[in-house]
């Protein structure tokens, strides 16, 4: 294996791991705010690592620009969407989960 292949496989493994963390968080965490938090952070990092892996696998072509654009777009919009969802939940009057309830 060349160093490039090692880097690609390592990025893909890291991305799949963080996506797994996202799935566990969305299923297991107690309320909508905690789920929005895991959706904004670990999902962005997992998607980012996987897209960097894709960009390295494609190599230096014109389509790589689209991958970089996709990466920048995911990094901007994913936390923004999670923020909008959490704020909508707050305006709906959903109480945050507390341990003593």
């Amino acid at each position: 294996m060349t160093p490039l292949e090692v880097a690609i496989v390592a990025l893909l493994v890291g991305g799949v791991f963080f996506t797994f963390v996202t799935a566990v968080g969305v299923i297991r965490l107690p309320d909508v705010y905690a789920r929005a938090h895991t959706a904004s952070q670990t999902d962005t990092l997992g998607a980012g690592l996987l897209l960097v892996g894709v960009a390295l696998a494609i190599g230096l072509e014109t389509t790589t620009i689209k991958t970089a654009l996709l990466l920048a777009f995911v990094f901007i919009t994913n936390p923004t969407a999670a923020h909008a969802i959490a704020r909508a939940a707050d305006e709906e009057g959903i109480e945050p989960w507390r341990e003593d309830q």
């Binding site: 893909l12 909508v32 919009t77 923004t80 959490a86 909508a88």
Partner: protein, 90 residues
């Protein structure tokens, strides 16, 4: 060859995780839980499209992934905005 196999394996793992997240979209007690789950599913779809584009050498899948990412963001913000009475979610 090993890179293509790794890309396809990652895409397969993401499909399995997407099915797991679908549970929250079906069950989720509040509207916002469902929107969070659908948003995560959309991100996973975008990444799966990018992975398949690199693995199967189909460049135009990346265009579809870009459009899907845009629509996913607009969908999340629009549903957030229209499920509350008085706008202002951004």
């Amino acid at each position: 060859m090993i890179v293509e196999d790794a890309l396809l394996l990652a895409a397969a793992a993401l499909v399995v995780l997407a099915v797991v997240v679908l549970y929250r979209a079906v069950r989720g007690p509040t509207m916002q839980d469902r929107v969070v789950a659908v948003n995560v599913l959309g991100t996973k779809t975008v990444v799966i499209l990018a992975l398949l584009s690199a693995a199967l050498d189909v460049p135009y899948f990346l265009d579809i992934a870009l459009v899907y990412a845009l629509l996913n963001f607009v969908m999340a913000v629009a549903i957030s905005k229209f499920t509350v009475d008085r706008g202002g979610v951004m």
